[in-house]
């Protein structure tokens, strides 16, 4: 088992060297930083699916939350907003929101007053409607005012690392609510519910222009480590400043990843991990042993989502731009699933291996497809069949096909993944 993993990781290392040789250092270094962030996200999904058997198809939503969090925390302060009436209007909207929440809570407890059955349902629906109207009546003018006068709320100007942490916290808070709502459902329903919720999160972040600037995008978001420009300012040449800055970011990301793996591995091999596997394999038996299955599953859902939030924040920090419309289910949910399936669910090293491998496959299948197309095009025009048109856009789509092919082949021939979970029976 160990030998197999070492061989696979050695193969991966060779692949990275080959890509570095073929595509150059700037390309490879950014892909490696992204691969590290994706490893963190894949670890989050590994906790949820590999340890807990929970079906989360809403990864995109958590990545967006992380991205928004780091934007909000680390982007410079917008004095136009803080100098205007915006904060005051937002405060009123917040009070309206709280009042609405209180109203709904009261309606849900209305059976204490003797309102029962159909009447209670009616009162609850009415309370939701009134709360929604009250909130809309405050937030709509506030949003319009902020968009007209200040553009958007802006950031807090704090250190990006704080933003990463906040990304984790925000994702955890949302995961708690989502888990409370959806974890009672069986797998297929859970998958569809989480997709639905992630689409709601995406629609909100994309359209709340006053908070996130929506499709106008926010950039540049600062780095936690010095940028290439900073090194250049101190007199380094272009190449070494790029190397130093990317290397610094990669090192930081690797430290975060390493700490996460260490913590998760400790939890996994302890009683907590054993309990989680017991719940995954047979939740009825686990419940009869006195384990609180629902609470434990909620716990694992929140833990996994924290890593997704931090990973999403890291990605946005690195690319320096937060563009809500760039988030797609294929790139940000299904891709992570392919990583886990190919790497091996339930094994942390499998998750990391799958994340790096699939990310590299994903990014190089486009240039590779272009080379193949150009070759085929020259070949077919040599035969007099004419050239292949739109090579650029066609090869860009090739990676979606490759991704689908990889996942179906993996499910068929290596359903446990390349580095499968190690089941110990001796303990």
């Amino acid at each position: 088992m160990i030998r197999r993993s070492l061989t696979l990781f050695a193969g991966l290392f060779v692949l990275i060297l080959v890509i570095g040789w073929a595509m150059g250092l700037p390309f490879t270094s950014s892909r490696l930083v992204e691969a590290t962030a994706y490893s963190l996200i894949a670890l989050g999904l590994n906790i949820q699916w590999g340890y807990g058997g929970l079906f989360n198809f809403g990864i995109m939503g958590f990545l967006m939350l992380g991205g928004f969090a780091v934007t909000f925390i680390s982007y410079p302060i917008n004095p136009q907003f803080w100098g205007s009436d915006g904060p005051w209007m937002l405060g009123r909207a917040l009070i309206a929101f709280a009042a609405g929440a209180l109203l709904v809570y009261g309606a849900r407890k209305s059976d204490r007053l003797g309102i029962r059955g159909g009447w209670k349902t009616f009162v609850t629906v009415l309370a939701w409607f009134v709360a929604y109207c009250v909130y809309r009546s405050q937030i709509d003018p506030a949003a319009a005012y902020i968009e007209a006068n200040a553009g958007f709320v802006g950031g807090l100007g704090a250190h990006p690392i704080l933003g990463w942490l906040f990304g984790g916290v925000l994702a955890a808070a949302v995961a708690f609510i989502v888990g409370k709502i959806a974890l009672g459902l069986r797998t297929d329903y859970l998958a569809i519910a989480t997709i639905g919720i992630s689409e709601i999160i995406r629609a909100l972040i994309k359209n709340m222009d006053w908070l996130t600037r929506g499709t106008l995008t926010v950039s540049p978001i600062p780095w936690p480590t010095p940028l290439p420009q900073d090194y250049q300012a101190t007199g380094s040449d272009q190449f070494s400043s790029l190397l130093l800055s990317r290397g610094g970011f990669l090192l930081l990301a690797l430290v975060v990843l390493g700490v996460s793996i260490w913590l998760i591995s400790r939890a996994y091999s302890g009683p907590w991990g054993r309990m989680m596997r017991a719940i995954r394999d047979n939740h009825i038996a686990a419940a009869s042993m006195g384990k609180n299955v629902t609470a434990r599953q909620l716990e694992i859902f929140v833990f996994g989502s924290v890593l997704m939030g931090i990973g999403g924040a890291m990605l946005v920090s690195f690319t320096q731009i937060f563009d809500p419309s760039s988030y797609q289910p294929i790139n940000h949910t299904f891709l992570i699933w392919v990583m886990i399936i190919v790497g091996g669910a339930g094994n942390n090293w499998g998750a990391v291996f799958g994340a790096v491998l699939i990310w590299l496959v994903w990014v190089i299948s486009e240039p590779l497809a272009r080379v193949i197309f150009e070759f085929a095009s020259s070949w077919s025009s040599g035969f007099g069949w004419g050239e292949i048109t739109q090579i650029e856009s066609r090869s860009a789509q090739m990676r979606v096909f490759v991704l689908g092919l990889v996942i179906t082949i993996a499910l068929r021939f290596a359903p446990k993944g390349l580095i499968p979970e190690v089941v110990r029976r001796d303990a």
Partner: protein, 334 residues
Amino acid sequence: MTEFVFFINQVVISGAVLGCIYALGAVGITLIFGILRFAHFAHSELMTSGAFFAFMLAALFASWGIVTPIPTGFVVLPIAMVMSAIFALGIDKGFYAPLRKRGAKPVILLIASIGVTLMVQGLIRLFFGAGSYSFFETETKDVFRIDTSFLGSTRPLVITEPQLLMIVVTIISVLVLHFFLTRSRLGKAMRAMADNADLAQVSGINTALVVRVTWIVAGALACMAGTMLALDVTLKPDLAFNIIIPIFAAAIVGGLGQAYGAIAGGLLIGFAESLAVFNWTMVLRPLNGVLPEWMQLPATLALVPTEYKLTVAFVILVVVLLVRPTGIFKGASS
């Protein structure tokens, strides 16, 4: 009456059109769930590829110089449906049947269906690029403007020819499906297997045949839904991928495994979406004359802003999953 006609144009017609497409897609999903017990995500790609089959056939017809009285898309629909059914059977044979034979859990089939989604979408984009196409490049899209001045309205009732045909075709296919499920031997076998697969097998029902028929019906209906959606808007590679979750919402609202529930759910989601973004001020404007100054209606009075239209389906989905996960019509829950 102008306001009433406006309401019909904005809510009833667009809701019915959307509802028909959702319903036809949801029926396929719900049948597959009933028989094979997994959520088939690649249904969106069956719809999109069906639309592309129809598009290629229509282009072929146009190049042969065949001119049809109704839009060519509807004329070639039966052929495209046959092609889609074969395509669906091929996908099952190639990707799902081997996994089923191994005894894989439904969850694994669900993930496999996502793999199929990605592959088919990749192939479509490979051949057709990422641009959009229209069925009406060589022929015109007829628009009927029914004069409603006898009702005292200043606006006409507007419906396009494809929309009208779409509603008619949906009603016919729902009736055919109904008679197939209740009167024919195979249809009864399908319902029996959806109820209890083991019992159906021991009572001598050919389950392999039922599975094949399910894919044929689902593929044909998906092709119909996809083609009609492409006729109403434009044909693009992510045509149905964007609406697969509302379609799932329709199937769940109706109760997974219930064919009639899926139709009701589809129409419900379709109407809910168009009602939610409807601007009520347009209908209630006459009240402005009665209401005092401080209570004048704002320019837009919609339940949700237009950009959240698709979100309505997700919210309904989440609420239904919370309040009544088995759907309006009690669905297969095991």
